[in-house]
Symmetry: C2
């Protein structure tokens, strides 16, 4: 059975068996982190890149008045700080929401991964999908009202969890508080609560005990104008084979 990282990266393209084996090794050395804890293992080489294997984590930025913005939910299969490989100063916090299984990947392993032609492209793809997601969140925060923002978030989480096999039909575990939903959508806790009730009263969702069931997927998507294209679940830019081969060289040793 493929691990979750493999499973996610294969949304881009099928990986060679050898790459998969390599990923299995990468993922082998995982550790547990309790809920609401920063993902910064003491003694960890600071250059390690982290990956979530199970549980919910988030990336957030804060202001001095205590307000914080969750800028990404990190689901199983997601890298926490891949960008730290090139960029220096870490200007945001990465923390667990629920208890998580996390992998710390050393720079050398990242280098090995990036050098492989197909795997390297898959990592590039994953990074660009993250960027695309940020753009959609910006649209969400800037132009939709609270209820629609939350609806849109739920639609996104649904697709993302589905694509790594963590959705049970149209229901899935959502181990986050209403306050955290608010921090990610720019809405106060109280107003999140009221917006959720509105969504419930419309028969669109059922949410309790850390589990969300989307009762009317079509309508929830329609009302929030959710279009899953921005998640690029159908792989990357597939041009003709020759160009593919060339792209293969892109991040690979000759």
């Amino acid at each position: 059975m493929d691990n979750l990282l493999t499973r996610k990266l294969e949304l881009f393209a099928p990986l060679p068996e050898d790459d998969k084996r390599f990923l299995d090794e990468v993922v082998a050395r995982s550790f547990r982190v309790g809920p609401r804890r920063d993902i910064v293992q003491e003694g960890d080489p600071p250059e390690d890149v982290h990956l979530v294997l199970s549980g919910f984590a988030c990336r957030s930025k804060s202001l001095s008045n205590g307000k914080r913005q969750i800028v990404a939910f990190l689901l199983p299969g997601d890298f926490c700080d891949f960008a730290g490989f090139i960029l220096d100063a870490k200007d945001h916090t990465i923390a667990t929401l629920s208890a998580c299984t996390v992998v710390g990947i050393p720079r050398t392993a990242i280098l090995d991964m990036v050098r492989r032609p197909i795997l390297g492209q898959a990592l590039w793809w994953a990074s660009l999908v993250d960027e695309s997601t940020l753009r959609e969140w910006l649209l969400n925060l800037g132009q939709r009202d609270a209820e629609h923002r939350i609806a849109h978030l739920f639609c996104e989480l649904h697709v993302r969890l589905q694509s790594v096999g963590l959705a049970d039909g149209d229901a899935f575990d959502l181990p986050i508080t209403q306050g955290e939903i608010g921090d990610s959508t720019g809405v106060s806790t109280v107003h999140v609560n009221r917006s959720l009730q509105s969504l419930r009263s419309k028969g669109l969702i059922r949410l309790s005990g850390g589990r969300l069931a989307i009762l009317d997927v079509a309508e929830l998507r329609a009302m929030s104008e959710f279009n899953p294209d921005y998640l690029h679940r159908n792989g990357g830019n597939r041009v003709q084979a020759s160009a593919d081969r060339r792209r293969g060289e892109l991040v690979g040793a000759a």
Copy 2:
């Protein structure tokens, strides 16, 4: 004199002379686009990657009710759609704000660029800086009020234009309307106007005739909690030389 693309990429690291010459060639075939026009040249190979050489452009996403969110300002030296190289479906619009000089770069040239060890890393860096900027915008939209959002935006534009030599001290051309400021900050046109007046009355800015002067840089930054670190103007992750060498191989042919 270095062209603007070179100038920007050298914020990451000094480029070899050969890379610079290559960039000069890349940038040579530019064309003009009038204000408020989509950057989609008819007959252009759709895979071309575009780059702004002069003027202001933007990337935006829209909702069916006509609301639009500008998710990035594209300044001279910025790529418009580098991600299109890997990702397929274009889920956003790229349009000029002022008249612009634009370069269309064919896929093959991008491949050549990415293959060069230093230049390839510089492009990766630029892409990650864009992502970092998106995160900061998310914080801006989600957690700051209108006046602070606009102040923060001005601080960002100031630094970005400065770093490509387009700021005249603390003043620079800002050829965009108040409506466009609103579309980027998630504020209505009317409220942008009032927020600007507030900033003016505090003696922080002067804005008229498409030109912005920041009268009190320190205070404008302080009030909006602007910290330029997220723009990563000081290059990338400089570790020891050996790691650098390894990173050099990263995107290069052996």
